[in-house]
Amino acid sequence: MGMAAAEWKFHVLAVDDSLVDRKLIERLLQKSSCQVTTVDSGYKALEFLGLRQGIESNDTTALSLSPQEANLIITDYCMPGMTGYDLLKKLKESSALKNIPVVIMSSENVPARISRCLEEGAEEFFLKPVRLADLNKLKPHMMKTKLKNQKLEEIETPSDDENGTVAAVEPEIKDSVEMEIIKMLPLQSETEPKRVLLQVVQQEEQMLSNNKRKSMEQGLSTDRPRPSLEGIATAV
């Protein structure tokens, strides 16, 4: 297909039953150079992503003919009908959608709620009202997806002076990380103090790919203490 890199924007699906909050999160994400789609319920979110209602999400035929793509899903926790937690669970149960990073937002600071969401596979938990600075935590995800897209592009359209082997592509990506990070700098909000983004983002990306992904799949965590799951009566 050879889609030009300049056209692609990180696409976020935002889910919130409050119109005020939808407007806010949409603007925050646009300001962070994302493409945004907002929906007002978990059901509409699943519909958007292509999961038809009433069909088991593990069913490979569950995706409708035209699922829309999202690179990240950010959802409110407290919603009528399907909560953000319910939506998170459904997404993680779906073989097609489980790899999309999910972020939960909530106006209430309830530690049990936060751990439950993170254990279920949420990448981040934001306390409302969400600020521009909070969205900086999404940058590692944006970087990863951008690099992945670039990699796919390079595999699809190898340049003439290459040997033609896929292995030759990888060192090139590594060197272009620096370039990509510099391109990402404008995403910082003006009020944020300038920092050494290069090191921080590289570290975060490293940590993300090494620790979080593996530990998420294994159901363990290396970056924060988690309570043992044995013998807990789930009153939540």
Binding site: S18, L19, V20, D21, K23, L24, R27, L28, Q30, K31, C78, S107, K128, P129, R131, L132, S189, E190, T191
Partner: protein, 154 residues
């Protein structure tokens, strides 16, 4: 003369905002809203605040209807409405409205009907005060835009 008009209006706007912050009517979340406004979204604050007004008034009307009903008993519904009000007020930086909604919500959790009626009165009062202040702010900003726009007198 025109330049002075803009400066004076800007000073009035700043004075009004400072006063609202000091009174605790608004908090720093309101500043966040202003930061999100730019050339690509030049009326963002105005748009969001108007959505907030529409939503809030629907909720307040509903709350009044519920409590005015002599056979009222649905405290849970009151709680749900108030959760929405607390959330949206917090999102736009309307600190005082948010706080009085929280107090109202506590009364509803105790199934305290007179407490709820009093709570509603206070929320309505604070809400209307905020609305009036926002209207004044928008008027001043509108005037300032006009004053800034007239560069070459005929």
């Amino acid at each position: 003369m025109l330049g002075l008009g803009v400066d004076r209006l800007q000073a009035d706007i700043n004075r009004l905002l400072t006063s609202l912050f000091h009174q605790g009517v608004l908090d720093e979340q309101f500043l966040q809203l202003q930061q999100l406004q730019d050339e690509t979204s030049p009326t963002f604050v105005y748009d969001v605040i108007n959505i907030y007004f529409d939503e809030s008034e629907k909720l307040l009307r509903s709350l009044r209807l519920l409590l005015m009903d002599r056979e009222f008993s649905d405290y849970k519904k009151i709680g749900l409405h108030l959760n929405q009000l607390v959330g949206s007020s917090s999102s736009i930086g309307a600190r005082r409205v948010r706080n009085v909604c929280v107090a109202f919500r506590s009364a509803s959790e105790l199934n305290n009907r007179p407490g709820c009626l009093r709570g509603l009165e206070i929320v309505e009062h604070e809400y209307h005060y905020l609305k009036n202040m926002m209207h004044e702010l928008f008027q001043l900003e509108q005037q300032r835009l006009l004053a800034a726009g007239v560069r070459y007198p005929m």
